[in-house]
């Protein structure tokens, strides 16, 4: 048990190599800490992002059903064009070694392959079709007035906790 825990710590440290004993996926790569006022910019990006989610009806349970029934191109268009813009942006950032507005070099952690991406990915897919939401839209659905989705969110936090609790016993 103890040995396994240490092994996980070691792996996570290797993949991100920052100060805390264990690191999360996609860790914050900013070197200078941010004040609470500076954090407000993420609130603004979040608000804009949430508006897009609602206005394009991406948070709709019906859109997700259309997607999984292959009866509408809409969600494929959204995800496809988002990826295209994302690829283009990251290529430009890398090619021209663009820095952050604070002048730091931009760093993106690599994703390592694990069995979880297959098993966990499939499990998430089941939940995605049932709730009609991935984690982002859960927050936006609550915002639009479907407050009962807060229960879904709470259950998702619990699911995350249960994964963390048994992470060292699951195939990975």
């Amino acid at each position: 048990m103890k040995v396994k825990e240490e092994k996980i710590n070691k792996n996570e440290n290797q993949s991100a190599g920052l100060d805390s004993p264990v690191n999360c996926e996609a860790p914050n790569m900013q070197q200078v800490p941010e004040s609470s006022t500076q954090l407000l910019k993420y609130l603004v990006v979040g608000i804009l992002f949430g508006i897009v989610f609602v206005k394009a009806e991406i948070i709709s349970w019906f859109r997700i059903q259309e997607m999984f029934r292959l009866q509408s191109f809409f969600m494929y268009g959204v995800i496809g064009s988002a990826i295209l813009v994302g690829i283009l942006s990251i290529q430009l950032i890398k090619r021209f070694q663009v820095k952050t507005f604070d002048g730091e070099p931009i760093k993106i952690a690599d994703k390592e392959f694990r069995k979880g991406q297959v098993i966990g990915g499939f499990i998430f897919g089941l939940g995605w079709a049932l709730t009609g939401a991935c984690p982002g839209p859960l927050f936006a659905q609550i915002g639009t007035g479907f407050t009962v989705v807060a229960v879904t969110l709470l259950s998702a936090v619990f699911g995350t906790w249960v994964y963390g609790r048994f992470a060292d016993k699951l195939p990975n």
């Binding site: 996926e25 979040g46 019906f62 931009i106 993106i108 897919g125 659905q141 639009t144």
Partner: protein, 193 residues
């Protein structure tokens, strides 16, 4: 101006929404060296509220607070959009999807979510158990096991040409197809509408 407001209130097409979502990737990188990802916020909530000495949750979550601020913004964005920018018309759902869903007992297509399922009255029923409790659990457990969700893997990961993210995305889709075509009919039959 009126015309602009009128246009804003219409549902936005995919070729507007998709690129805007894609732009979140460089926006977060440029603003503060942050990789786009949303399911990580659920992990930070666990780390902040009940780490319980579990190694998976004992990291410096305060360094990741930006992510919690970001998801709070998404919730507020939902409030803003529904209060001031909402479309008065019903959502347009593909005819074939409506037909399939009617066969399962879902027939209210006026709102973004089926009103028959997503209301508080269902909390303590079998519908609530499946659509809220089990559904939410699968989303939380699955995304963390996979190390990311649609944003972290499908958008951020694939944008950074990470093949494990492509694998994850393929299995997200397979899970969704399995639920929609095999399990959902059984569940709807069982919980009844």
């Amino acid at each position: 101006m009126d015309q602009f407001i009128e246009w804003i209130k219409q549902p936005w097409p995919w070729y507007v929404a998709g690129p805007l979502i894609g732009l979140t990737v460089p926006a977060l990188l440029l603003l503060g060296n942050k990789s786009f990802g949303i399911s990580s916020s659920l992990r930070h909530m666990c780390a902040a509220c009940m780490p319980a000495n579990i190694p998976f949750f004992t990291y410096n979550w305060k360094k990741e607070v930006w992510n919690l601020v970001f998801v709070l913004g998404i919730l507020l964005g939902g409030v803003v959009a529904s209060l001031w920018l909402s479309n008065p018309e019903s959502i347009v759902v593909a005819e074939s999807t409506q037909e399939d869903l009617r066969a399962l007992g879902i027939s209210d297509f006026r709102q973004l979510l089926p009103a028959e399922i997503f209301h508080w009255g269902n909390l303590l029923t079998m519908k609530g158990l499946f659509f809220f409790v089990i559904g939410g659990f699968l989303v939380g457990f699955g995304t963390r096991y996979a190390g990311g969700c649609t944003s972290g893997h499908a958008i951020m990961g694939i944008s950074n040409l990470q093949w494990p993210s492509l694998v994850a995305t393929i299995f997200f889709m397979l899970g969704g197809f399995a639920m929609t075509h095999f399990l959902l009919p059984l569940i709807m039959n069982w919980v009844g509408i």
